[in-house]
Chain length 488, copies 2
């Protein structure tokens, strides 16, 4: 039975109009104030979207206007395509052509990318500056939300090179929020610090939870450990989402001073938190909840409680209440405890599929289970351990980097015959990409790095590109990325 | 898209095996211990239920064994028919014949009713005492829960006389739990005191929430204000469900002593809490959340926060996050603020319909909205006020009494020609039923009361039955129950 709920934002305003919804620097807005701004924005946007299109793409940094715009798109009953602000113009072009939005909205920090792109774009493009000075049209009023409807689309890459648009329904976001609340609870004075990008599921999920839970989001344009430390020491923040690299920077800047006791939950994503960092957090009294999740699960699906973090070191924890996880030893058989295999997940927070990718959907879903491509195992107590992210995914400062994509760029260089990319541990970013190439001519490392810089978002550019005589391959001639490290 | 989740109890045990699940007198059980007992019970029950039947009826008081049995039925993938322990044998017989369970389980306090009933029963009957000494069979293992599946059936009456079986799906219970948590939050040390019957939705919903939230239920066989006061003063209880009559008794016994500050939520159902009682609660620092709900909404659907309880005196509050409520002025038009009309509700917590009652379902559901039959209005701020429960429902000490049912019994007496029943205010029970009859002979009040006692559960028996010359009727000759009071 398709499930229908009230319009979430309108409902939240009805229930708690005077609670704080958003804090940004020294400004704050109640849900009522936010709703007024969202409705205004929707009225300024409604006639820009062609009638036959139900999608708007956004290229927006973490700013209040971005929040109004994202909610305005939902109020209009349209789908939001979240474009990653760190991508190059060419990378964005693919996603825009694939998702075919009727309108693209960008803000001033992203103007330089859009300017490069605009001549080749079909959809209308509008800057936030232009948008907010437009006349306000009457807008269609959306009284209800159908949970099967698509709310957002975020791109993620895989082994096959081209990024895939992950469909996230309202139901996916609802169930993700439900799973999280049953895990960490909901207390009277809760507030969520968002220093992660709102164009990632880690950030966007905070905006959705704010509406569902009725709690304030403390939004930061960029992560800054000094400001974060001030906030965590003030008692203003009770929950924060972060990756290991951020936590390291926070602790280094904070020294021995402890945070305010109201700070009750640090959700840590993007791979296990290293043991020394965990210990340091414990000494500081910081409750770290390690998580495992992906765009396809609408944020975390597995979480490790602080009380288990040292006894189950390296584990991502257990699947949240509404979700399931199994490890398959092979295509027919579930793995025994301690036996590794591919990780499959299932639950109402899992995406219904990828946009325009019947082939990928056929491969990724089996009997209602989503194949993550990640490798791991469960221990005797059912705790999940992730050994390898899918397609040797590199997580660098919270951003996903896919070796296959970088290898594609490297071999497109005329001097490169073969290429392999892997992640190398890095104290600041957790991991950084390294390239290994078999090159036909005497091409220099700097030239290859510069070539990558033109083609790839800066965080994806390999830190080093090393020439080798041959790449490690298995019997089937498949590149063994895990063995690349040994060539160092 | 049909939603599938893990088996809730198994999942809860996986996530928090060592948390307390149930407290009864001086005993307590963790979720792991409870699961072991539930599995054992399921194994003792599985071969008693005929293969072609998916329903088990229970006639059970608030006891630990009842909790194991209710969960065991769910583990076996069967539906539970909750029989009200206060009904007479004849009243039960109707519900059993209507729901056709494959098995009836009763406990010793209810043996006297079952003994009267057994000769006329088709399904197998087993006492808890017999059940727990049976051999343990291998039972089918239910790994997942489909939210559209029926979990429970509870009977409720209406204008037409015969009780109707309300179908409650797992999804109904889930969404009811979600709506409640978003309203009152979920804190680390939460526990829920259950002194209301588990065969009512008010009690059963606590058992379901315990599994979903992972919190202990403090179960009492019967409401006893002295024990309740001890518990609320000890800090062991943070949430309690009650009706006004209970609160009055609690406060009277408690005197001026305040409860433990950990006691953070008193959910009050069964009609608005009278102003003096609200004030007394406020003086005692008791946070009263007034609610409006029914079997068909799987417990409360509208709640008034303590901060609004005095400014919005008499209001039931606002619909919970996942739910909607509208007041219809007539069949086509929504009422304006302050204008009264029939109350309609909608949401994933609302029943999909009544068992075996296509006619009632057709009447009760319009475009996805459920017609409650209750009369009320919304004020300018959207707060809901209930004026009249459906079919002049009488709520007496938390039990629903339907005048039509009592009138049917009264007119079945050879001396009674016409009958009308209404609720009269009562300081102890909130309201009690009074009968008004046009009688052909010189029959005595005591005789009629005794007649009712044979046919009706004791709480339904009219406190007084008064003879009158004629009943108040409108132009269409419809009984005007609201005017019966004036005959006193």
């Amino acid at each position: 039975m398709a499930i229908t709920t009230p319009n979430w934002l309108e409902k939240r305003v009805d229930l708690s109009p005077d609670r704080t919804a958003l804090v940004f620097k020294d400004q704050s807005w109640t849900f009522q104030e936010m709703f007024t701004l969202v409705q205004k924005t929707a009225g300024q946007m409604t006639d820009l979207v062609p009638g036959d299109c139900n999608r708007v793409a956004v290229l927006l940094n973490n700013r209040p206007e971005s929040v109004w715009i994202i909610h305005a798109i939902q109020q209009l009953g349209l789908e939001t395509v979240f474009l990653n602000c760190r991508l190059t113009a060419n990378e964005l072009l693919f996603q825009i052509k694939d998702s075919k939005p009727g309108l693209i909205i960008y803000d001033s920090p992203n103007a330089h990318t859009l300017v490069k792109l605009e001549p080749s774009l079909e959809p209308a493009v509008v800057s936030v500056k232009e948008l907010v000075s437009r006349p306000i049209q009457k807008m269609p009023y959306k009284k209800e939300i159908h949970l099967d409807d698509v709310c957002s689309i975020m791109y993620t890459s895989g082994t096959t090179g081209n990024p895939k648009g992950v469909l996230q329904t309202y139901g996916n976001h609802w169930w993700s929020a439900s799973g999280s609340i049953l895990n960490i609870g909901l207390e009277k004075n809760d507030s969520w610090l968002c220093t992660v990008p709102i164009y990632h599921i880690s950030g966007f999920s905070i905006l959705m939870r704010s509406i569902i839970y009725g709690l304030p989001v403390i939004l930061m344009e960029k992560f800054d450990e000094r400001i974060v430390n001030q906030l965590l020491s003030s008692g203003q923040v009770t929950i924060m989402s972060a990756v290991s690299a951020m936590i390291t920077r926070m602790l280094t800047a904070q020294g021995e001073q402890s945070y305010h006791p109201a700070f009750r939950c640090l959700l840590a994503g993007g791979g296990p938190v290293p043991k020394p960092l965990l210990k340091a957090c414990k000494d500081q009294g910081i409750p770290v909840f390690q998580t495992y999740g992906m765009t396809e699960t609408s944020s975390q699906i597995v979480t490790l409680s602080p009380e288990d973090s040292l006894t189950k070191l390296g584990s991502a924890g257990k699947p949240l209440f509404p979700s399931q996880l199994k490890v398959m030893a092979d295509s027919d058989q579930e793995a025994k405890p301690m036996q590794e295999g591919e990780i499959f997940v299932k639950g109402p927070n899992v995406t219904p599929g990828y946009l325009n990718r019947d082939d990928a959907n056929r491969i990724s879903f089996k009997d209602g289970w989503f194949s993550t491509g990640d490798i791991g195992y469960k221990d005797e107590d059912g705790f999940v351990y992730i050994l390898d992210r899918r397609s040797d995914l590199i997580i660098s400062g919270g951003e996903n980097i896919y070796p296959a994509e970088l290898e594609g760029v490297l071999v497109s260089h005329p001097s490169v015959e073969e290429a392999g990319v892997t992640g190398i541990e890095d104290s600041k970013w957790g991991s950084v990409p390294y390239g290994f190439v078999v090159a036909t001519e005497d091409v220099k490392e700097e030239e290859l790095i510069e070539y990558c810089r033109q083609k790839l978002a800066s965080y994806k550019v390999p830190k080093r590109i090393l020439k080798v005589a041959e790449l490690p391959r298995n019997g089937a001639n498949k590149l063994m990325r895990r063995l690349l490290k040994d060539l160092l």
